[in-house]
Symmetry: C2
Subunit: 338 residues, 2 copies
């Protein structure tokens, strides 16, 4: 059932019917009602493709995140989906798998899809230049990994503060030697390291380069096992006091618990663990994991809100872009509090 067919049945022209269905002021209420009634009756559904082709807007937003299987990122996507649903947009998503070529591929693919805007959490080592170029073609909003020099809206969390809180918490629990687990080349990591350092400084503790365990995303698990085991063996012998461990991503933090357990290291007695992690399973961990929780869904939600805003009035001043920084919260559990 097309507009034309509907028009014929009504004895009206296609354009009149179109206007009626779009509630145009030009059309009389009588006609509108007649049109709507028959449209309902025949279950008329406009062809969105044709509509989009004509209007130039598709009501579709593209989302690019590194990994969908990462619970934190899928929470962002869930929030984004909710917001999209609320504002009547559709979501097409892509995964960059922390791979710069895949990211550019996906960006390219999205641009070819007549989407109205893009939300992206750039992959490790992402190319700012390329992003900038895209952002000139189509509205773009950064989410979570917002540490890029781009003129656009950015929605993230206060990573520095989150790390500061976590570090301070470990110090409060009496730990003076605090290892930090991080993934190489993810923007947010830097801020977290800064927070970590500042907390150390504020407590008159030395920062030691060797305390930073930095692994590549790809072989994160294996690298983590090797490096952590190695460093712990050394440090636990060297010191005769318990130490702290700060994980800067879900995977690393949760993974470290398993490793420590396998090594027979007591948590928190020997090593207190706290980390960024958005998992609901924190209470079921061994032991219950103290976490820095980030409002992931909210980030995704606000990112879409901002993007939609951007889509609706595209001609904003450059100076007018917002960077929204949400708060993360520390939830202490048994992995730091004995």
């Amino acid at each position: 059932m097309t507009l034309k067919e509907l028009a014929q049945k009504l004895g009206l022209s296609a354009s009149t019917v179109s206007k009626a269905l779009n509630d145009s002021y030009e059309i009389s209420n009588d006609t509108k009602q007649r049109v709507r009634d028959l449209a309902d009756m025949y279950k008329y559904k406009p062809n969105i493709l044709a509509k989009s082709l004509k209007t130039g807007r598709s009501n579709t937003i593209g989302v690019i995140i590194p990994y969908l299987s990462n619970p934190f990122q899928s929470q962002i996507l869930e929030g984004a989906h909710q917001a999209a649903y609320d504002s009547n947009y559709k979501l097409i998503f892509m995964q960059s798998r922390e791979n710069i070529e895949l990211e550019q591929d996906s960006l390219q693919a999205l641009c070819m899809q007549n989407i109205d805007g893009i939300i992206i959490s750039p992959c490790a080592n992402s190319c700012v230049k390329y992003l900038k170029q895209i952002s000139l073609q189509v509205p773009l909003v950064l989410v979570d990994r917002i540490d890029y020099d781009l003129d656009t809206h950015k929605i993230g969390v206060d990573n520095e503060k989150g790390a500061y809180l976590a570090t301070q918490h470990l110090i409060d629990m009496g730990r003076k030697d605090i290892l930090l687990l991080s993934v190489q080349n993810i923007g947010v990591t830097n801020k977290r390291i800064v927070g970590y350092k500042k907390a150390l400084l504020a407590n008159y503790l030395d920062f030691k380069e060797e305390y930073i365990i930095s692994v590549e995303y790809e072989q994160a698990k294996d690298n983590l096992i090797t490096n952590l085991t190695h460093l712990l063996a050394k440090k636990l012998n060297e010191f005769n006091h318990p130490i702290g461990l700060l994980g800067t991503t879900d995977t690393l933090t949760v993974g470290s618990l398993g490793i420590l357990s396998n090594l027979g290291v007591a948590v928190p007695e020997q090593v207190a663990v706290v980390g960024f992690a958005n998992t609901e399973a924190a209470d079921s961990m061994n032991p219950a994991l103290s976490t820095v929780v980030q409002p992931a869904k909210q980030m995704g939600y606000q990112a879409v809100e901002k993007l939609v805003e951007l889509i609706h009035h595209r001609k904003r001043l450059h100076a007018d872009f917002d960077t929204i920084v949400l708060e993360s919260t520390l939830v202490p559990r048994k992995s730091t509090v004995s």
Copy 2:
């Protein structure tokens, strides 16, 4: 840069250029090359909307799952995305939130989007009639929750066998009283209960209705806490032997570990726990969680493969639909083996 403009620059007609770019046999190699070169030069990108409008195919697949934030379901989606990417399809996804109205809304929304096909993991209490009606309009493939009377491809796992294995494992570990945690009204649950019963039967153990703790999805966590606490208090007193616990979903299984820990119940000494769970964090659980692992990504991948197959030759015989049942595997860890 449109096809027309490109044609003008080349001194050719739009149709010739279109054919050249689509590698039509009608066009000479010379012309093809010239066209391609200039297209590259001007970075010509075809307008997919126009193409879809004309051809009637959008190369887009809709996916509906209950919750994106459920790691198991997001793994299905990840696999689906991978397959879609490989076969050059785009994915639009929706969440039903285990809500039948939201599911029908989403189905409706997808149908209006000129998608080429749908993959769905129906929500609890989903309406078969409605699904059937949709499946007549557009190719549809069921994934994971395949226990519906629909003439279409279905990709799932052998839930009965998975539950059988898990139950047998608990029995092998010396447990004769085995509680089962389940969510109401999810199709897969039934099969899992059947597997559980069969394993009991095969070992000459009585099935007891009271051993089944069935909670609603919405208040799963709260209900679980109440019911599990209650039943355990009763049973642990009544028996003087250790018992078993079988969780039929990620959330329930993982959640139960936290609850048991809070109750001060020793796992596996007092209660051995095993459950369906696809989490990578199993090793970090308290204690490391024995799991029935399902090939979630593979399910998603194959679902898209099947759907694409269906899209390509729509006129298949009814009798010709496949139901693919993948194997799940049991990974014993400390929560059952002391």
